[in-house]
């Protein structure tokens, strides 16, 4: 168990960012909060620099796509306080057609490649990122493959055509 309980953690965050966060839940004991992109960097910086909390480690930064929802793409931050042995998950959802969010590289240098990967697969634009270009896929790719509107399969595949199977 961590040195700080989720209640204490939530209390500390609420004291500073009271009306700006909503608690999603605590699946498997992992406190999950949702916020907006206006204050996300302030929250991350607070969690990292607070003398007690010390969430010094950005475990992961990724995105998720829920097609059909009004705010369809969300960026998800996983933070870990190595000192207190406690983790927290922060979600920021963005409306269709406006996938902009400020970069977290101002807080953690290590967010650089994670944000490039998130841009590569979901097309989220991280404003202020020093070098926002594709990292894993080929440079001339025109789609963001982890978005649901793009098919997983490669269109050049020939040996799965229906006529080979009498369909």
């Amino acid at each position: 168990m961590g040195k700080i309980t989720n209640e204490e953690l939530l209390k500390k965050i609420s004291e500073k960012f009271g009306g700006q966060i909503t608690v999603v839940g605590e699946p498997y004991g992992l406190l999950t909060i949702e916020t907006g992109r206006e204050q996300i960097i302030d929250i991350l910086a607070f969690l990292k620099n607070d003398a007690v909390l010390q969430f010094i480690y950005l475990t992961d930064l990724t995105a998720i796509h829920y097609p059909g929802l009004e705010k369809s793409i969300g960026v998800i931050y996983h933070l870990h306080s190595l000192v207190n042995n406690v983790r927290v998950r922060i979600k920021v959802f963005m409306p269709e057609g406006d996938f902009h969010i400020p970069t977290a590289t101002v807080v953690w240098e290590g967010a650089n490649w994670m944000e490039r990967e998130t841009y590569d697969f979901f097309g989220v634009i991280f404003d202020g990122h020093p070098d926002l270009r594709r990292i894993l896929n080929v440079d001339d790719m025109t789609v963001f493959p982890m978005r649901k509107e793009f098919p997983l399969e490669d269109p050049n595949r020939v040996d799965k055509k229906d006529y080979f199977f009498g369909r």
Partner: protein
């Protein structure tokens, strides 16, 4: 008595103190029994290739024990494993660096057709970027299958005319890949 078998002489005219045949056949014989493969192994088919090269299956019986890790000295490009789209230009560069005559073998389902990786990031068969002479099916193929494919390459090499590489259909094939 040694049980070492020599390669049979090609068909020709034999007499006292002379043997006459065509240059194509002699060169084909020499080339096919001294192919230098370049292993381009990216995944599990490469492990099967290691078994093929090792003592149990021993590809050196076919004159191919000298692997060339420089494409400039290699005759045969053996592509074994999944080739992602990002690696496609690298594979093509390796092929372009090989000197004529050159042959290509696609070992395994991934190199031949993309295999189970029907996805946006994987090349659906290396024949999207370079011409292929022999396809070896299997996931991964057994060493016997790789040897069978290699023998297929040897047959191609033996029967290929010396001028085939200048033939219009060959030029057309390369041009369809945008080479030369």
């Amino acid at each position: 008595m040694s049980d070492i078998q020599l390669v049979e002489a090609p068909p020709g005219v034999e007499g006292a103190g002379f043997f006459a045949t065509s240059l194509d056949k002699v060169i084909g014989l020499a080339r096919s029994n001294s192919l230098w493969p370049l292993p381009f192994a990216t995944s599990c088919c490469g492990i099967e290739f290691m078994a093929t090269m090792a003592s149990h299956y021993d590809l050196s019986r076919f004159g191919a024990e000298r692997l060339s890790f420089s494409p400039r000295q290699a005759d045969l490009l053996m592509v074994m494993g999944t080739i992602s789209k990002k690696m496609g230009p690298v594979l093509r560069q390796v092929y372009l660096q090989m000197a004529e005559p050159r042959w290509v073998m696609a070992v395994g389902a991934c190199a031949s057709s993309g295999g189970i990786f029907d996805t946006y990031s994987v090349l659906q068969g290396i024949d999207e970027v370079i011409p292929v002479d022999v396809y070896v099916p299997g996931c991964p193929p057994r060493p016997e299958a790789i040897i069978d494919g290699f023998i297929g390459i040897q047959k191609l090499v033996q029967t290929e005319s010396l001028r085939r590489r200048n033939a219009p259909e060959y030029q057309k094939l390369l041009a369809s890949y945008g080479i030369q």
